[in-house]
Symmetry: C2
Subunit: 168 residues, 2 copies
DNA sequence: GTCATCGGGTTATGATATAACGCCATTCCC
DNA sequence: GGGAATGGCGTTATATCATAACCCGATGAC
């Protein structure tokens, strides 16, 4: 938890992010009748250890360490499936990794700005992008179910830094 | 090669697609001084067996069969890396699979409409989508290097069919 | 001819994800 | 409350996707 490589890029109190995310998850699941079990909540917390997408096996390791005994991959994947279904976590396809959603419950399908240098990933929901995809698909007779937009590049911080921190 | 599950959705002469793709690859590589070796060319042909993204291991199996002896994964991955670098093939991140580019040489980064029913994947290059992403990122100070847009949904054919063909 | 470079073979391994089966706790119905 | 249905999760095994490390032969530069 005090591993500096897990800290987010700019100085912000990340514990707030985590606490907020958990609180939102609690109330959202409660309002939906979805069961945010202890395990699922712990996995959500582990996803939120940073603003970088984390691989399932990284989460698995953390979980194993917390429990003092090795956990099985399925344990983590099932929890992640639940969290993704509830919109609490997004899967970043191009990284095979998972990142916490900062604004769940808004029924959005976001777009992701993935920094190739520090790994930090910002979720946005830009109406112009959303509508351009919707219209572009419609013009070709294609019915959109799930748009995936993942933009690799450099975040503002890393553009001004020579060689920034490593990814976890 | 005559496996019907590999045929593209609508009746079109797919052998033309393949022949065209190979011809374009030949001239493009020649003009660039890139070496489209026999192996790479064969892998490109196997990617083009359908308009569905194909997994590296599916290609590997085809290749092994053609050669009468098992090929190694690296063989295929190296060829695919080359083809992707040359823009002859695109990787579909959300499927961990590869699909032929119908218009290489245009220096585009396309968007992909992936049918969840039949698997056929159409590559488009919609300026509105491209520009919306460029502007949306710029507005947040993010420098785009590689935009990835993969839209899952239903192609026109599959919207009018009850339960269409399977994916290979 | 000699060297550098590159394509590709070989073997091993790492990383990501799911299948199949079963137990147990909760919940729901009556 | 009793019993059945459901869902969460443990266990073991396996599938799928991708790369590391090493070597060798062909090609082209000089």
């Amino acid at each position: 938890m005090t591993d500096p490589s897990l800290a987010p890029a700019s100085g912000h109190d990340h514990s707030h992010c985590v606490a907020d995310a958990l609180a939102r998850a609690d109330s959202l699941c409660a309002s939906r009748g979805a069961r945010l079990t202890a395990l699922r909540r712990r996995v959500l917390e582990l996803v939120w250890r940073s603003h970088r997408p984390r691989g399932a096996y990284a989460i698995l390791e953390d979980l194993s360490q917390q429990e003092g005994k090795p956990a099985a991959p399925l344990t983590v994947y099932r929890a992640l499936d639940f969290l993704v279904e509830q919109g609490l976590v997004h899967r970043i396809e191009s990284l095979n990794a998972y990142v916490g959603c900062p604004a769940p419950g808004l029924a959005h399908t976001g777009q992701f700005l993935v920094c190739e240098s520090c790994g930090n990933t910002e979720e946005i929901d830009d109406p112009r992008i959303r509508e351009a995809i919707r219209d572009g698909a419609a013009a070709r007779g294609f019915r959109v179910r799930l748009p995936t937009v993942e933009v690799r590049g450099l975040c503002p911080d890393c553009q001004s830094r020579p060689r920034p921190e490593t990814t976890p």
